[in-house]
Amino acid sequence: MDIGSVEQLIAGSKWQGKAAPEIVPGLQWLNSGPLSLKALRGKIVLIDFWTYSCVNCLRTLPHLKQWHKKYSAKGLVIIGVHTPEFAFERDQDNVAAAVKDFGIKYPVVLDSDYSVWKAWNNAWWPRKLLVDAKGVVRYDHIGEGGYDEAEAEIIKLLKEANPALKLPEKEPAQKAERGAVCYPTTAELYCGYSRGSIGNREGYGEERIAEYVDAGQHKEGFMYLQGSWLAKEEYLYHAGKAGHIQIRFRATTVNAVMSADKTCELEVTIDGKPLTKENAGSDVVVEKDRSFVRVKEPRMYNIIRLKRHASREVRLSAKRSFSIYAYTFGSCEGLDM
């Protein structure tokens, strides 16, 4: 699909001016008892479709947390609609742990069967929608960004609902510096056979453990395996013993969505060398002559943070079993993820 038709599709799916569909009852909630839009009439409601291992959603979180802090006492109710992308994101304990780790204080509804997603006819993570005091959608933003615009709309709707309201000053736009530049970057890489691409000549051994040999020539956009791996629809499972997964990327940051039944130490190298404090991601432990990430709970792990956008190769090596679902990449200098 070209960008023009994507834009037409997006424009056709927007909710501005339409009545917001009710949140399907009977779902599990975190940080709150069940809420309904009907009961919230008179309040301004921000609906955020998210899922906890999605990098684009995590980049949106600081803004939502800040708005909750500033405006919840003034009549804003943020509802995080957690619609899972991967199977492990359907697990309530995993979502609850993530909500706690990220310091999310606003209500989160677990949309594990996609009922809220379908009611909104949604197709994107993240997506922010603002519902006014009468239950009408007034703002609809797909993807990251638009934070200043969204905050201005929150203020407008709060004042519309209560003209006497005194609001805290809007923060000035983020100060940017030299180096605030973005570059064309490797697209998100899924590891399972339903959406992924393996560069090894062997190809995917779907639903069976296969032996792979990494021949050493690596093209961007493909994964290269060494050792015993089981390919599942959503992920690749390293079946123990020594093995690795390697990719060539163009980016500033590299994240990997991973999990392990028992804590697994993955050695991380960039162009064959251990990471240093200058290029290690926040989940990487840097020691003398080695760098590694301890993988256990299913989530996104931040592996690499380069100061400058570059083309490099990253290898994750393990002697134990672990699963890898996806790689995501940051395209900008001067941003963390």
């Binding site: 638009g146 615009e149 736009a173 100060k175 940017a176 510096e177 605030a180 973005c182």
Partner: protein, 80 residues
């Protein structure tokens, strides 16, 4: 304020481009937006002018600014 033509070379996936455009809008500075992924010829021109492929590139009169650099934008527009 001196009136200079402002062009922002950007792409929809680029967060710093969004911030730059939001900032210019908030300052009420009119600008022309060029999507480098939809207009390959303009993208080539941008690479020639700026000597690199990063975005946003902000062209203010004869000056080329790579990245969202508020201080340089203000200086080029002679605003405080």
């Amino acid at each position: 304020m001196e009136k200079k033509k402002v062009v922002v070379y950007s792409a929809i996936w680029c967060p710093w481009c969004k911030k730059a455009k939001e900032w210019l809008t908030a300052q009420k500075i009119p600008f022309k937006e060029v999507d480098v992924e939809k207009e390959p010829k303009a993208a080539e021109e941008m690479v020639k002018k700026s000597g690199q492929t990063g975005i946003p590139v902000i062209e203010i009169g004869d000056e080329i600014i790579v990245g969202f650099d508020v201080d340089r934008i203000k200086k080029a527009l002679k605003i405080k």
